[in-house]
Symmetry: C2
Subunit: 442 residues, 2 copies
């Protein structure tokens, strides 16, 4: 077990790294962060586990081989073998499967190794040359193999906006919405890592002036600004996760863009929910920020009225203060325009409540499962997490700094999500979650 004081020390705002780029107060990858991902580079094309710090990636497979990283907990044969190779895998699943003590311990060891006054790696030029890879020279891959992807719908502002637009402005919020974190199963196969181009989907569109649908390219392509959390330890079928225990099952968080074809969605979604309108792509950021690193940024969740049923209650602070932004850059433009600024702390339902609800039926979860927050919208037009909302279904196009106006996304547009927690003199950031839109297949 890790001492709580060791964990606390990794969160000390005054801790600095000998990797100087990490010490910039606006750099996403401070020594307080240490997010996990999967990378490769030109000199070593094998995918392996890395941790981002400043402009560098620390190659954990190299540190392990050099004897500088220990994984806690002795165990049976198979687990030992898994442990020995956990950093040489092309996904984080094996590492995550080792359990929370292991994640925590590795993060603590890395923080110690990378802090300014620890000479071990700092002063070993040979080891440094193989253990550090510049992010600019690396390719980042999908960090986890995702057995299941679930998407929630937990922003009250978003649900209200959508309900007003497509159902009834007077009863925008359906009665079940305030009683449970509404969610649905998404398509795990098409979750891609940031940087993967996204092809505009074809599908059935129901045009207002025609009796029957037509087949064609989506005309209302949209983003959904979300975060996602990754399951660190699952539950057995038939054995729910209690709300109070739920956060211990979460490995960490990513940014998530739940690309949405609004015209396909509007025609297909009744009565079984969105399908082709969402299944063509979901982009996540490559670095998983651990819940440990987010600990200092806990805040009170919004007041929930009515009080949730007992299985959805938890004491304490379970929201997180994560600033979020979306930019759009047309293919021909040099400058991107910020089209949304909001914060994760606005979410009505917490991650703990989402996970408790998901499993209360007995549904099992597995290491690597991805759970999307749902679109994160704030109370104003410039804090909406989708163009559907900010342009009110295209009626009020956004003025870009460069490249005209946008009701929805055009081919060649590059959409970028960013997110960060601002500490005192340091940031715990998520990097970027980027996707450029390719024209639909003819």
């Amino acid at each position: 077990m890790n001492a709580l004081s060791d964990l606390q020390a990794t969160l000390d705002p005054s801790r600095k790294s000998w990797i100087e780029s990490a010490n910039d107060s606006t750099h996403d990858f401070s020594i307080q962060n240490l997010p996990f991902g999967i990378f490769s580079d030109k000199t070593n094309t094998a995918r392996r586990v890395g941790v981002a710090i400043g402009d560098e990636i620390v190659d954990l497979s190299v540190l392990k081989s050099a004897g500088l990283l220990k994984l806690p907990g002795a165990s049976a044969g198979q687990l030992i073998a898994m442990k020995d190779r956990a950093f040489e895998q092309d996904t984080l699943n094996d590492f995550i499967s080792l359990g929370r003590d292991a994640w925590r311990s590795v993060r603590i060891q890395l923080s110690d190794l990378l802090k300014r006054d620890t000479a071990t790696l700092r002063d070993n030029a040979d080891l440094r040359s193989t253990a550090l890879v510049r992010q600019a020279d690396a390719q980042l891959h999908l960090p986890v193999q995702i057995p299941g992807y679930t998407d929630f719908y937990s922003s009250k502002e978003h649900a209200t906006n959508v309900g007003s637009m497509f159902r009834d402005p007077k009863n925008a919020l359906l009665p079940n919405w305030s009683e449970m974190p509404i969610g649905y199963n998404g398509r795990a196969s098409s979750v891609v890592v940031s940087g993967t181009p996204v092809r505009r989907p074809n599908g059935q569109l129901k045009l207002p002036d025609q009796e029957r649908p037509v087949f064609g390219a989506c005309r209302k392509l949209d983003i959904e600004l979300e975060t996602g959390f990754v399951i660190g330890s699952g539950n057995i079928l038939g054995e729910p996760i209690a709300c109070a225990d739920a956060e211990a099952h979460i490995f960490g968080m990513v940014l998530l863009n739940d690309w949405s074809a609004r015209d396909i969605q509007q025609w297909e979604y009744v009565p079984l929910g969105p399908f082709n309108s969402k299944g063509f792509a979901t982009t996540i950021s490559p670095w998983i920020v651990t819940l440990d690193a987010l600990e200092p940024f806990r805040v009170e969740q919004p007041t929930q009225a009515p009080q949730p049923l007992a299985y959805l209650r938890h004491d304490g602070k379970h929201a997180f203060d994560i600033s979020l932004e979306v930019t759009l850059r047309p293919q021909t433009a040099r400058q991107a325009t910020t089209i949304s600024r909001t914060n994760f702390k606005h979410m009505y339902w917490t991650m703990a409540q989402q996970l408790a609800h998901h499993t209360v039926s007995g549904c099992n979860t597995r290491v690597g499962d991805l759970m999307g927050s749902g679109t994160i919208s704030g109370p104003t037009a410039d804090s909406c997490g989708s163009l559907l909302e900010s342009t009110w279904n295209g009626k009020n196009p956004l003025e870009l700094k460069e490249g005209g106006t946008r009701g929805f996304i055009e081919d060649g547009d590059e959409l970028t999500l960013t997110g960060w927690c601002q500490g005192d003199g340091y940031r715990v950031g998520f990097g970027t979650c980027v996707g450029e839109i390719l024209p639909a297949q003819k």
Copy 2:
């Protein structure tokens, strides 16, 4: 490549096996069938690939080691290694990944080896004693690792019944239903093999006399009689599968019981579809019947009006004549009561259309993906695929031969799905898909 005449020979109704139990005209596992599954037994607890014939399982790992099975197609190093071990795996995924030529070739070789006048295995008592395992002595496991589970809603009778009950009897069928095979993403983690007990789920129930929902055990637990198909070769993200090509991507079919908590469903499903009401368990039969074995049972699909959009059109026969039955046996009863008799051929949308629609957005599929047909209901009350329909939401309980009446499923009830194609003197059957209901967790 396999000669078409070799494939045809495996379907010859007059072919008989030296395994005499297979020659009974009502036995599911004739020599014309040869479905694939994963099994283990007491003397060898390792999971491995088997094929059912009569009352026996042929252990393909033993036949391969004995040099009696060849897998076609030379290839690169990794694939050769995969081929050599394909029958020693705990799922069929590696075998299926070898491609349609390989599945076909193995089925043809097995048919030749097991036919009455082939002496090779028949007269080799030593080899027979290890290559054949009695089904009664074996344990059957989930046949595939399922990366994604999708469930469709393709029975017109079922959609009409549900629409009448919960929406508007005059406009029971929503306008999109006749234009596309409506589907949604299900929860893959809780797909279990036949025989796995199913725990009654807890969840939110909205009782008519109360303003707010209560938490408790589902009171309207139901089956959904479905078939499922398993993807044999997937598609790359962004590259749809054409309707005409779709069947070549299907490895085979299973029976599928999409357990449903109707009270949870009714309260949660708007606007994003069913979630906890379905995610607690889905049961499939253990033997995957190949599309090759089903070839003689192709029939014309129902006429589709309006004519589907071009991407959903196919020529020829794409429905299959599969008789289906559901029985219910209360815990205290010796006798089961047949509660539904219907046929897969009634389905409005074909499997090919479902797969073409699923991927037309560019959504990728992967080997082992499971696609449920949706509840299969015929035109009469005794041909409904759910109790919701046959009892009209519990209002007209069914009279059991033994054990009282049923509006919905009670604790201890055992539900069994069966399905078969009746040939001339032989059957191509699916075995059983069974689940017994355990009381809800307190």
